[in-house]
Every structure is written in structure tokens, then in C-alpha cells.
Symmetry: C2
Subunit: 284 residues, 2 copies
């Protein structure tokens, strides 16, 4: 017998992984949660059937969401993380001695519990004394924060289902207010390649551009996400992602990264023409 997990990347494109077994499956209050075990990718987590992370390539996504803003902000002490119930963002953040507090806001407690049990490689940062977990809707949580955070990391699901509110203009505006006067927000920005992802990406990008004075997009190779070409948004009140990059400081921290390095930081902001055009289209 063969067991295959398949994710439709569009209605005409499927990505399939041979599975040894299904380790977990349940419907939470918000979404269906599944964990599978595979030879190629190790264990992997899906929400409502969509790929969230695999043990093999999650390092790329988590390193790129954390080390890019953390290498730019000169002294990031108070961090807000939205989503990220799998803990991968915490694992990377924990390596910065400058960090004093991390508020993690996850809507679905069951995701945290499942990841702690089945994905301990990723969900290893919850015990850090600097971390406070808030089981809450990120959209509502940021409404009440003001001038409080140095960095906000939005590790959302896709712009439909429980994560939808995290792609709205209201949310980005509230993140702006929740940041200190030199704060930085990063978010996962979908993919430019397939029409459906692209439209969501353009809409979200337009709203960020309208909310922040500095707004750039960077990219990474994430093989298990649709098209493998994934974008991230860098939105900032004061610091430019390249001009204010603190490459020397990052090197001195000796953080063992498998994807990120200070040169790749620069390269990640060099986008293909067609992506630049998609982003410019919505900036007009």
C-alpha cells in the first residue's frame, strides 16, 4: 500500500508527498490539524490540508522571518509574534541576547500542543522565560498595543480561513501603532508565481505600503510551499533593510544558521523583474 499527501497548489497543480503514516488528525475550534511522517521531509504539519512546515525545510522560513528584521534593528528588545504556534520563530529569536520579552499570540492553542508533542525540533522555544503565550486573535490583540514593540513578526497562515484578518489594512495599521518609533514588521507574503497567491500578495503588499513609510519585499527558496518561490514583507518606520543592515553585529552573534547569512540578506531583496512589476502595479 502507498499513502500520499497531496496539496493542490492551484486547481491544476498538485504537490504530493509519500507518507509513512498519519501521526495526528483532529478538528480544532478553528481548523483541521494534521501531522504526517514521511521519509523525504520528516514530519510535517498541515492546517486545513495546507502545508505549514516540514522538518526538512522549515529552517528556511523561520530563519528568513527572524534574522532579516533582527539583523536590521539595532536593539530589538520587545518582540511581538503573531501566529507561529509551531514555535519555530521562538527558536530563532531565543538566540538574541538583546531580546527581553516575546509576546506570542496564537489563536489556536491546539496547534501549540500538537507541535510540542509531534514537532519538538521546531516547538522548542516555549520554555524560554522571556516568552509569554497569549491564546488570542492576533487581529484583536494588536488593537490594544501602542508604542510597545521593536519588532513584530507576522507568521500567519494563508489569507483565507483563520489567518484572513492578518492581511487587512486594519491589522497593518494597528501593527504600525503597536511598534515603537523605529519599529519593524515582517510578514509572510505569499508567492508571486501562481495567479491566486499573486493576487493575495499584491493586495497585502498594497495595504502595507499604505501603512508604513518603508516597505520592501524579500524572497527565499522554500521547496514545500507553492512554486517554491516565497516572499516576505519588510515594513519599517525608520530602518532601511539594506542600508541599516548590521552585518558585523550579526556575525559576532555566531548564530548557527543553515540558510541565512549577511550576504544572502542583501541578495534576498534583489527581486526578479516580474515580481518588481507586480509590486509596482499595486503601488500606483
Amino acid at each position: 500500500m502507498e499513502l500520499w499527501y497531496s496539496e493542490p497548489h492551484t486547481k491544476d497543480v498538485k504537490f504530493s508527498i509519500k507518507v509513512n503514516k498519519q501521526l495526528y488528525s483532529a478538528q480544532s475550534e478553528f481548523q483541521r490539524i494534521d501531522v504526517f511522517e514521511s521519509a523525504e521531509f520528516g514530519r510535517f504539519l498541515t492546517l486545513d490540508g495546507y502545508m505549514m512546515l516540514t522538518e526538512k525545510d522549515e529552517f528556511i522560513y523561520h530563519e528568513m522571518l527572524v534574522h532579516v528584521p533582527m539583523s536590521v534593528h539595532p536593539k530589538a528588545e520587545n518582540i511581538l509574534v503573531i501566529g507561529a504556534g509551531d514555535g519555530g520563530i521562538l527558536r530563532e529569536l531565543a538566540q538574541y541576547p538583546s531580546v527581553q520579552t516575546i509576546d506570542l499570540v496564537e489563536i489556536d492553542e491546539q496547534v501549540i500542543d500538537v507541535c510540542k508533542k509531534y514537532l519538538p525540533q521546531t516547538a522548542c522555544g516555549f520554555d524560554d522565560p522571556r516568552v509569554t503565550v497569549h491564546i488570542a486573535d492576533g487581529l484583536k490583540y494588536v488593537r490594544h498595543a501602542e508604542n510597545q514593540y521593536d519588532v513584530i513578526i507576522v507568521d500567519s497562515t494563508d489569507p483565507f480561513g483563520p489567518g484572513e484578518g492578518l492581511f487587512t489594512k486594519e491589522f497593518y495599521g494597528n501593527c504600525y501603532n503597536a511598534l515603537k518609533s523605529d519599529g519593524i514588521m515582517v510578514n509572510q507574503h505569499e508567492s508571486p508565481f501562481y495567479e491566486e497567491d499573486r493576487l493575495a500578495m499584491q493586495r497585502a503588499h498594497k495595504r502595507i505600503v499604505e501603512s508604513f513609510p518603508i516597505s520592501r519585499v524579500y524572497q527565499a527558496h522554500i521547496p514545500t510551499y507553492p512554486s517554491g518561490h516565497w516572499l516576505f514583507g519588510f515594513a519599517s518606520k525608520q530602518y532601511h533593510p539594506i542600508e541599516h543592515q548590521q552585518a558585523e553585529r550579526f556575525k559576532k552573534l555566531n548564530i548557527p544558521t543553515k540558510y541565512y547569512n549577511h550576504q544572502l540578506h542583501i541578495g534576498a531583496f534583489c527581486l526578479p523583474n516580474y515580481v518588481e512589476e507586480l509590486l509596482a502595479d499595486v503601488e500606483d
Copy 2:
């Protein structure tokens, strides 16, 4: 009814595209050739079942193989292209007024005929008077060339089947001899992500490093190739790919690219740590 093309990216990973119809299928002297039509990717060509190009994303591969070396070499007049029976490399090369002769060496004439008929968007450069098509084995062809070419572009299939010889030390050594004293060779370099592709990539890279004084690797996002993370090799007798990049000259040429630009040129050489480590492993 539904018709799906599936390519195994590893024995445990499949990438599948819904197909409207199969336009062509034949066994040539060297390989099985198929052309399909799909809603998502337009028409696409497979050889022995492996994805070669789709109308939707072939621009990425062809731009990156042509414009990177052509933006570095200060005066590329005589070009050798190995493989590339689909014509995409010719289409991009044709835009350089400096080019005087292009020798295209394709082992399988049937690939050229099929692409001219079914993939005219790609196979549009064969009528350029500067082009001479040689139906021959690239491995044997370069044995007889010496000090003749400014740029060699190796647009091979994978390192098994008909393309196998194009990943050997003999071949790279002969390319070195076929180049003038300031020549550049580029090749498709497989992917770093899946074990099988990675080993082929490391082997090929080691052989290139042994054959050329300057050897670097660059990357692009190619959604229809395994993992979407594709590498290219830049091997050179004299010019460094970044230090000798002629960004201003490229801009003045006004070549309409959808992926390549002079900043992305630099970014493409900024590799993730894990890829740098794979490449260093074989350099020892």
C-alpha cells in the same frame, strides 16, 4: 475525465500538472519526447518524462543562463551552445549586437523539429543568420575546438541519459580548451535540495572547480524544476562574475527581461549557508 502529468522529484515526491491534451509523443533515436498543453503552464516539453520547459516559466531558466555570462564578458562575439534544442538560449542571445557567431550543438534533431512546431515562443532563434546548428554529441564536438569561443553555454538535460557526458571532467576540460583566454562557461547545475540532485550537483561542481581558475554558483527560482531551487555554474578563465559585471552596459542594451536584472545578478550569487557548505564539501 482528468489527465495529469506527474514527475517524480524523488521516489517520495511528485509534482503533477493537469493536462488538457498531449500534443506530441514519440521515441527519437535518443529519448522519448512529449509535448503537453495545460491551462496553468501553457505548453510544456518533457524528455524521457522529465520536465524540460513550460511556456509559463522557461523565461527564468533561459534568461539566467544567457544574461549572467553575457553581462560579464566585455565583448562576447563567438558563442557555443550545447544542448538547447528548444531554442530558448538562441532567443536570448540574439538580442546582443556583439554576437557574431553562435554554434548550437544538439544531439537530437527531433527535439529541434518538435520545438519549432509546438513551442514557437521558445524556438524562435534558429533563423538568425549568426546561428549554425550542428546535430552532434556535445561531448565529442568540443574535443575539436580550441581557443575559439568567448562564451560556452551548456544547456544540458539531467546528468543521466543522453546528457550524462556533459557532466564529466573530460567535457569541462575540453570546454576550457575551446574557450579563448578570457572565456566563460555556464551550465545548468541541478538543485541542492533533494539528495539525488544534490549529489550530481556536487560531483559536477567539483569537476568544474578542478578545470577552471574561477568557479562560482548562482541560483534562481524555477517553479517547475524539482524543489524550485535551481543552480547554475559560472566557470571562467579571467572574469569574476560580480567584480567584472558590466551593469551599465547591460542596461543600455535595453533587453526586455522578465526575470534578470543587474541587481538580481548580484543577488543570485548570494547562496544559502547550506548550499555554500555543500559546494565547499567537494572543494576540499
